[in-house]
């Protein structure tokens, strides 16, 4: 499905970077309802298991495999003070680098980026989530949106990261 990059006429890396940086800002500031508006109505969010980072969620147990219905419910949960794993909310800071456009197929733009997310909770050492994103973006009415969001962790196991209780 990936076409040569010289056909990428409608999007620039700078535009993708601006988009990802804006998304990171919304997530780090827990502006989750606004974050949802960055997603298409059929968006999916995946965190593959650490031992099978390339697997398909239909056949393999993932850490997270949300369709848009469950993703919206996840945001409802994250905003609820009864979401004990994230109450008080963690402070997170995400650094996003090595942004690339890896292919364009019709209105879908495949992108890759590296991330380091630091998560801080009171009385705890920082937990570091390092990996890479593989997203599919789509223009909806001229506006870039996320159709598929895949956060792939580098560590061999979740281990001391514990839970992925925030949006990675």
């Amino acid at each position: 499905m990936n076409k040569p990059l010289d056909e990428v006429a409608t999007v620039s890396r700078v535009e993708i970077e601006d988009f990802l940086f804006r998304e990171a800002d919304l997530l780090d500031n827990w502006r989750l309802d606004e974050w949802l508006t960055l997603l298409t109505d059929d968006a999916a969010y995946y965190v593959p298991p650490n031992d099978k980072p390339d697997a398909d969620h239909r056949f393999t147990l993932f850490t997270i495999a949300d369709d848009i219905v469950r993703l919206r419910e996840r945001v409802i949960r994250l905003k609820d003070p009864n979401c004990h794993a994230e109450y008080p909310p963690s402070r997170t800071r995400r650094l996003i680098t090595n942004v690339r456009i890896t292919g364009v197929d019709g209105d879908t733009i495949a992108i890759a980026a590296n991330f380091a997310v630091y998560r801080y909770r009171r009385g705890e050492l920082a937990r570091e989530f390092v990996g890479h994103y593989r997203h599919k973006l789509r223009r909806v009415g001229g506006v870039l949106k996320i159709a598929e969001r895949r956060a792939i962790l580098d560590a061999h196991e979740l281990g001391a990261m514990g839970a992925v209780s925030f949006i990675l």
Binding site: F59, L61, A65, H84
Partner: protein, 436 residues
């Protein structure tokens, strides 16, 4: 943190687990969650004596398939040899101790020690020693194979190892837990369940015994999992207890003693089951398919047994550190104590080998709705356990946990009572006191 102990099971002659049937009280000293000495003692008294879950036959489909993991603190290779036989061998070279298999999993014709190049067959026998002619005549190559765990046995494809040569046989050990494993295995038309690919491995900064309690404690559901209950309600599932029932949850479940420290909840289902009870979360299009799965159960096992399997949830704790949750999906969850305040958890999904792609996808979707480090419930369990562990820093001032809920009731013990938790503690205490 560590004080001196006088008695084998207690501190200065005082017990760690205290029960009074007259006063209807049951309490556990919080020191059992923080003491390094108790931690070391339970490694010997509990983990070196019991049958410890090792793996599932479905993880080793072909000769040469192996998994490396840690069992009761020992590095092992869980392997199907070239001869088809399943073994569990100590993953340490007989020469100088290095790990001979350093990969997580794979298929091997032999295991090669990278330190000096000794090579072992998949049945553990020593195959090659570089420069063998320099060894003295007394060097007995045939006696230098990889060590095997002293005991390895399986029940319905679940393999367990024991480091106690004198342990009772596995089926005797499992006691009443066998019938509850059967309720899981019978979900497959051929009685063959499989571990689904993708493993969840994560740490909880809490004592391992807290996860035993948490896995079977339905009293915590309403407070700890308020957001999950809310999600289910939003999805059209009725999560309210019947009016005037006095229940905390929609149905009245039971907590059961299965012998030898094993225990289970046994609850009429209200939260859906891939095999086989439809709820709205699965979508209308799944209704007919789940009906067909139920019909297969009925045809094969009869109405009563089919209903027993399809319409009940069971969180089964096999002493000491295996939990099989047969609820919104089936999870096999194993946890290893690393320090008094740290455990490593390994969790898998289990499903019938016959499942279609759609059924498997539905099972995995249902799994992640509740379970696992990205689920809607497990992260809050982790938060609760870590919170309790933090509270135990005050164990000297506030020494006792209360587990008396349900004591003195004349009728059966429910899933939101604590009798089944007491079953675990009585067995734990018995083993700790038996070790002089």
């Amino acid at each position: 943190m560590n004080d001196q102990y006088t008695g084998p099971g207690g501190h200065n002659g005082r017990p760690l687990v205290r029960e009074s049937r007259e006063n209807l009280s049951f309490s556990v000293n919080r020191e059992v969650f923080v003491s390094r000495e108790i931690f070391e003692r339970e490694q010997r008294a509990v983990f070196d004596r019991c049958w410890i879950y090792t793996g599932h036959a479905s993880e080793l489909r072909n000769p040469g398939d192996y998994k490396t993991r840690s069992i009761a603190g020992r590095p092992v290779i869980f392997c199907r040899g070239g001869d088809g036989q399943v073994r569990c061998m100590i993953n340490s070279c007989r020469h100088r101790g290095a790990i001979v298999c350093r990969e997580r999993e794979g298929n091997a014709r032999n295991f090669y020690c990278m330190y000096h190049g000794w090579t072992y067959n998949t049945d553990g026998t020593l195959r090659g020693v570089p420069g063998e002619d320099s060894y003295p005549p007394s060097f007995n190559k045939s006696g230098m194979g990889l060590a095997h765990v002293p005991r390895l046995a399986s029940y319905k494809d679940f393999y367990f190892a024991s480091f106690d040569r004198d342990a009772v046989d596995l089926e005797t050990y499992l006691a009443g837990a066998k019938a509850y494993i059967d309720l899981v295995v019978d979900q497959s038309p051929s009685c063959r369940m499989e571990i689904i690919s993708g493993v969840q491995e994560y740490h909880i900064k809490a004592n391992w015994k807290l996860l035993v309690e948490n896995s079977v404690d339905d009293y915590h559901l309403v407070a700890t999992h308020a957001t999950w209950l809310n999600y289910m309600r939003n999805s059209g599932v009725n999560m309210s207890p019947p009016k005037g029932s006095g229940l905390l949850l929609p149905t009245k479940g039971l907590g059961k003693d299965l012998g030898n420290g094993h225990l289970t909840t046994d609850n009429p289902n209200y939260r859906g089951r891939p095999v086989a009870r439809w709820i709205s979360v699965y979508g209308e299009e799944a209704k007919a398919d789940i009906g067909a799965i139920k019909a297969e159960l009925v045809a094969r096992l009869g109405e009563a047994r089919a209903a027993r399997i399809a319409d009940t949830n069971r969180n089964l704790a096999i002493f000491p550190n295996l939990v099989i949750n047969d609820g919104s999906s089936v999870t096999v969850r194993n946890f290893t104590p690393v320090a008094p305040d740290l455990m490593h958890v390994t969790a898998w999904a289990l499903g019938p080998v016959e499942e279609t792609e759609a059924q498997r996808a539905r099972r995995l979707y249902a799994f992640l709705t509740f379970y696992g480090p990205g689920g809607f419930a497990t992260p809050d369990d982790v938060a609760a356990l870590e919170s309790a562990q933090q509270g135990y820093a005050s164990w000297r001032e506030v020494p006792w946990n209360d587990l008396s809920r349900g004591m003195g009731k004349n009728d059966e013990q429910t899933d939101t009572d604590e009798e089944h938790l007491r079953v675990f503690w009585r067995r734990w205490n018995e083993l700790m006191e038996a070790r002089a």
